[in-house]
Amino acid sequence: MTCLTIYDVAVLGGGPAGMAAAAEAARRGARTVLLDENTRPGGQVYRAAPHGFRMPADPDRRAGEALRAELARSGAEVRTEHCVWGLGGGPLVPEGSPPEPFRIDALHAGATVTLAARALILCAGAQERIIPFPGWTLPGVIGLAAATILLKAQGVLPGRRVVVAGAGPLLYALAAKLLAGGAEVAAVADLATRVDWASTLPQLLLRPGLLARGLGWRAELLRRGVPVLGAHTAVRAEGGDVLERVWLAPLYGVRERAIACDALCIGHGLAPATEATRLLRAEHRYDRAAGGWVPVLDSDQRTSVPLLYVAGDGGGVRGAAAAPASGRLAALAALRDLGRLSARAHAIARWRARAERWRAAQAGAAMARLMSPPPSLAAVIPPETVICRCEGVTAAEIEAALADGATDVNQLKHFTRCGMGPCQGRLCGEAAAELVARRLGGREAAGVATGRLPLRPVPVDALLGTFDYADIPVPPPAPI
């Protein structure tokens, strides 16, 4: 790492939290770099259309453009199409050594780019949670958030006749977008009841704009005669080679109904993406209402690791509106900790961001609570259902491993290969952990998977570069 430029601040992830964090840090004079794997910054909610595409404006797109413009003005170096696969340095040093600058390895244009930074702000966002059910691996079944990305980026519909199921406000946002895009929405099945939704009203009233949009989506569904089923869940997806129908059932009842469709968009909320904080050995805690395991953060977004910060949904799901303020707070804390901001300037700068974060996070937290799936969902997974689709591990195999004495999610992985495939548990981890938790008495007891490199699968070719045999630093021979 000797001849690398060392940035003051590196921001990983160009969603709302990351764009605001990088802009704030750069604007205040810190040498700042933002890395994102997409072609343009924006993240998921504020996703930009690809170069050459134009999409109609909506409130999300306007908020995204404003942040992109702020980022562009700030002087932060923006590196798009950089997929970060490696992190090192920081606390990951030999015993007794002082902490090092963070090392960041990213895949770009088929090769590895390595950067270094004194402070690291992780804005990795969240990933979709799907609690498996029979047929969930059929072509035509797609994540709620994944379908939203298809629509947002390029106006692509997941199907012609679509069932939308799962939890949270995304159900209604997506259903309305599907209708606007020309698809037929056959039904919306919401895990929550009207009472659950009503309980979020005090928080939603703090965000009248959001509330109005939500009510608008509901009204549009009503107007178009889309059946909206509260306290319902998708219990089965069926079809030959592709999806043909979905069976919906009430949570508290037995009458199932089949609905013919060619796409099922389903999601059971979001889970914070903690691969990087686990890799860097930050302290974590389990918080079901915030989406699952989250890094322990102070009120300025500091993790337990010096000079490591988390902003946005990666620190607990609070939604896109709360993310920029958390990003700014993280940037301010980083500058303060680097000695580039006086205590007084820090105190002045952060009060507004804190107030903004608080206001937006109220509604975000209410939505996150609504999206946290009840443990009963995992309890009814039939034994033959595949949980880990990379490795083809079924619920029955997981139960057998638990009966054979697997003591936590890491041991379960050893016993079954669940989570050992290319997704490294990103898709199956939540469901598998719920099954372990049922046996061991809670998610805390079930534990959290050890974070390891690479953060995303990385082509060997990109790691190799060009080299001669003589360049390989082969260590001294093992004893004979």
């Binding site: 041991q411 490199l453 070719d461 190799l464 390989i472 630093p473 093992a478 004979i480």
Partner: protein
């Protein structure tokens, strides 16, 4: 009171406990974590003679048979051990000389190793690079899925009557008339005999008995690829021992060889060293060019123990009657089940089939 308490449920501890119990003893097996979750569960599963120290070849050959037949002696428990030929490669003149020397020593110790040309090596392993100058071919080679080790041992241990205490750390040992009292995380446990089987943690464990046994901690890195079409039908290594490469039935390729990462006893295997991560993968792809098409999905680390002379610590603990130790074996996973069996023979009062490795040579004893 147990007849014997084995502390450390890795492959050595499990095998010792199993064979003691089958020999009629009432055995407790304790671990601060879960069964076989440290080195025994995260190693490369290499069952090769060509990375085994020459002095250990007779043991490794017997252990190899045990691994391949594990379901027969472990109540069906399996690590999916597979037999295949092994090749150790030399790319330079100096490496060729090292390979010849090492092959000779291992052959003298009983490993059926023969030197072959690069072209012959490619006939055995068509995916090899054409840069091979010389190769050592051993028909007795193979590999296991190390992550299955705990699950493989568990039913046999329970069936043999071993009392398995996972997540029960031991903090110290007191001697009392007729045995030992283990101070554990959930109350004392008494036993007539103790066996220390704590891998990289043997040094602090020996200190419980006032015995100073210096042990170096190696932090070995491992890398695994996504599933890929068949590219490898042998176990590949290099003359220096710094590569182990194999493809499992599921298509994943495991890249190891003992390149060092960052970690220690307190924090475990913490992180790869960037230059060693890249170096290890470069060496692997140099030997097997088809690896360029793979994707790496995970790198991890495990702690290996090494004594001052890099030979095992297996035998009685001098000056402490009825206390035994087992561990610090190079390629310890390969030989592990057999070493446990041998130590159990000695503890049960029989003459072990092959000699143990008493630790008197390694000790700096302090006043107890």
């Amino acid at each position: 009171m147990f007849d014997a308490a084995v502390i450390g449920a890795g492959v050595m501890g499990c095998s010792t406990a199993l064979h003691l119990a089958r020999g009629g003893m009432r055995v407790a097996l304790l671990d601060r974590g879960a069964i076989c979750r440290e080195a025994s569960g995260v190693n490369a599963g290499t069952l090769t003679m060509q990375m085994t120290r020459a002095a250990l070849i007779p043991y490794a050959l017997r252990a190899y048979e045990m691994w391949l037949r594990m379901p027969e002696w472990s109540d069906g428990g399996t690590v999916l051990a597979a037999a295949c030929p092994g090749l150790s490669l030399a790319f330079t003149e100096a490496e060729a000389a090292m390979l010849e020397e090492r092959a000779r020593l291992r052959r003298a110790a009983g490993a059926p190793i023969e030197l072959v040309s690069g072209r012959q090596a490619r006939a055995i392993e068509p995916g090899l690079t054409d840069r091979v100058r010389l190769a050592a071919h051993c028909p007795v080679d193979g590999f296991a899925s190390a992550y299955l080790t705990g699950r493989a041992f568990r039913p046999a241990l329970l069936a043999a009557g071993v009392a398995l205490f996972e997540k029960r750390p031991v903090f110290g040992i007191d001697r009392e008339a007729g045995g030992f009292v283990l101070r554990t995380g959930s109350g004392p446990l008494t036993a007539h005999r103790i066996v220390l089987a704590g891998g990289a943690w043997l040094e602090p464990m020996a200190a419980w008995l006032g015995v100073r046994l210096p042990i170096r901690v190696l932090v070995n890195q491992l890398v695994v690829t996504e599933r890929m079409p068949p590219v490898l039908r042998t176990v590949l290594g290099v003359a220096s021992g710094l590569l182990s490469l194999k493809q499992y039935a599921n298509g994943t390729v495991l890249i190891g060889g003992g390149w060092q990462g960052i970690g220690d006893r307190a924090r475990g295997g913490l992180a790869v060293r960037a230059e060693n991560f890249a170096g290890n993968i470069r060496l692997a792809a140099y030997a097997l060019p088809a690896l360029r098409a793979a994707r790496v999905v995970r790198a991890w680390l495990g702690l290996e123990a090494e004594t001052a002379d890099a030979l095992p610590a297996i035998g009685p603990i001098p000056g402490v009657e009825h206390a035994w130790i087992i561990g610090s074996v190079h390629s310890g996973y390969t030989s592990g089940p057999y070493f446990g069996k041998l130590l159990a023979q000695a503890i049960l009062g029989a003459e072990p089939e092959l000699p143990l490795f008493p630790i008197d040579r390694l000790l700096a004893r302090e006043a107890a």
